[in-house]
Symmetry: C2
Subunit: 307 residues, 2 copies
């Protein structure tokens, strides 16, 4: 019988750590040309929407293949499906149904970026946004750094207070809701920007030199949650998928600027044999895209861990 | 909770009838341009094999979207997945995992062909082949015609005897295992050819004028289970997917012959308002291809019937 997991099964403190390690392994294989990750495939149902497939897998270690599919139909129900095969045995290892795996995967990508780009001694984090992805990014940050204090801002006072209370309980950290984005990120070693804002909510002048920033929300020319001066301030800029960044229907917010060619592939940074010696004031920026194939890698790791 | 069905759930006498009706509805919509059925989509995992996706759905009635995926990896395990969404509500209606749905679907396509092409008073059937698809085609034939006597031939005496015993019990019909293909089909109103043979096992001289033939096995120029003279004998030749027939990597067995342009789309035959008056000696031939999107239609109907 094929293992089927749903959102209720994706719980427990270890799951983000498992996901981060799975994404890191996939990215190392990507850097060596051992990850299959072709462009997305859409099929349109006229007047209704699309089914969108991302297919992918890793070729080394436990070689896997699989896909994620989601719909863009109008309606309140939405279910993603991720399926994983072993390419060694042809066995369908399992299926994960729901919205949560994708959120954990995006959090885990952010966690890998924080692990490899932020100050190894980072203890403070500033969060802008209070939705599911702001939570996942913070869980991921706490999985790779010994955080002691976190500040959070979002437009709704109720939401930022709820975020602070829930995440304080969940992570056992001191978390404070504050009244502005500037206050949330002031002096923070790690900055998480995870909003739906298409006007900048984060500016360079508010950031501590040497901070690491994850931008998870909008980042096209038409709308971006961080100001262009944050890119200017950054010593290094990375993304998890330069390929998808260039394929955006609406151009990436750094397109046409001098910063565009500075964007590095996080996979290459991770796989570098010569470690980067981060200076204390080296600000770093990670632009989260959602590398195709990482959903399959995370699902494979979760299925394997469950036996 | 999303409904998950496996092979064990796809049982019961009614299931083939449900599948035949679902395929017929899908084909009627195809004839009116209301079925979404794009070409297959392959992703290759180097050295391992492919994941192959067929996506499709119907736009009228209960509009649905979905896909089937299967693997070509080396190994003894193989699991197909079929998933169905309502495009009205965006709800994932369910997932069917296993090999059986595809077999039922191919049987149902054969059943639709028999319903619309064979003599309405057909009572005898000749079967060449004794595998899963030979069984499914006979179940489908019995669902649309009042059969009284069936003969079966396959190379292995043990297999054809097992087929006769099992199907006699399952369908409550008089089924006889015979010693040659010619003997199996002699005088039969309905002929099912479902072998893996790439050399012809069925010839025109063995067939009764006015018979209807379903060919389910190989039918490329390089290898085909029925002789070209069966096409010559046929008054009408139809297939479920002229599009896929023309897209075969290895050309269709009628390619380049005068019969190629006579091949009709079964969907158009079904949807014709002017009924065809079948003469007693009008031999008909149906070439089963496996119209993309019909797996989704059959899965949708089975999921709906289970509530």
């Amino acid at each position: 019988m094929t293992t089927i997991l749903t959102d209720e099964d994706l719980t427990g403190g270890a799951i983000m750590q498992i996901a981060i390690d799975a994404v890191e392994i996939a990215m190392r294989q990507k850097a060596h040309g051992r990850m299959v990750s072709p462009p997305r495939h859409h099929v349109t149902f006229p007047g209704k929407g699309d089914l969108v497939f991302t297919v992918g897998g890793v070729q080394d270690g436990a070689p896997t293949a699989g896909f994620r599919v989601y719909d863009t139909f109008n309606g309140s129900h939405h279910s993603q499906i991720v399926a994983v095969w072993s390419t060694e045995t042809a066995k369908l290892e399992g299926i994960v149904i729901g919205e949560k795996l994708g959120a954990i995967r995006t959090g885990a990508i952010g966690g890998v970026a924080i692990r490899h780009l932020s100050d190894a001694d980072a203890t403070t984090a500033g969060v802008v946004g209070s939705g599911l992805q702001a939570r996942m990014q913070l869980v991921a940050a706490a999985a790779v750094r010994r955080l002691s204090h976190v500040r959070v801002y979002s437009r709704s006072e109720a939401n930022r207070k709820a975020f602070a209370e829930e995440m304080q309980r969940y992570l056992g950290l001191d978390i404070e809701a504050v009244d502005s984005a500037a206050e949330a990120v002031r002096g923070a070693d790690i900055v998480i920007c995870a909003t739906s804002s298409s006007v900048p909510v984060l500016r360079a002048k508010d950031l501590k030199p040497g901070a690491h920033i994850n931008t998870v929300g909008p980042k096209t020319i038409e709308g971006h949650e961080i100001d262009l001066d944050v890119a200017k301030m950054a010593h290094r800029i990375a993304t998890d998928s330069p390929e998808q960044m260039r394929a955006y229907a609406s151009p990436f917010f750094l397109a046409g600027t001098s910063h565009e060619e500075r964007v590095e592939d996080l996979a290459s940074i991770i796989a570098e044999n010569t470690p980067w010696h981060r200076s204390a004031d080296a600000t770093t920026l990670f632009c989260s895209i959602g590398l195709a194939g990482t959903e399959v890698a995370v699902a494979a790791a979760i299925l394997k861990q469950r036996g």
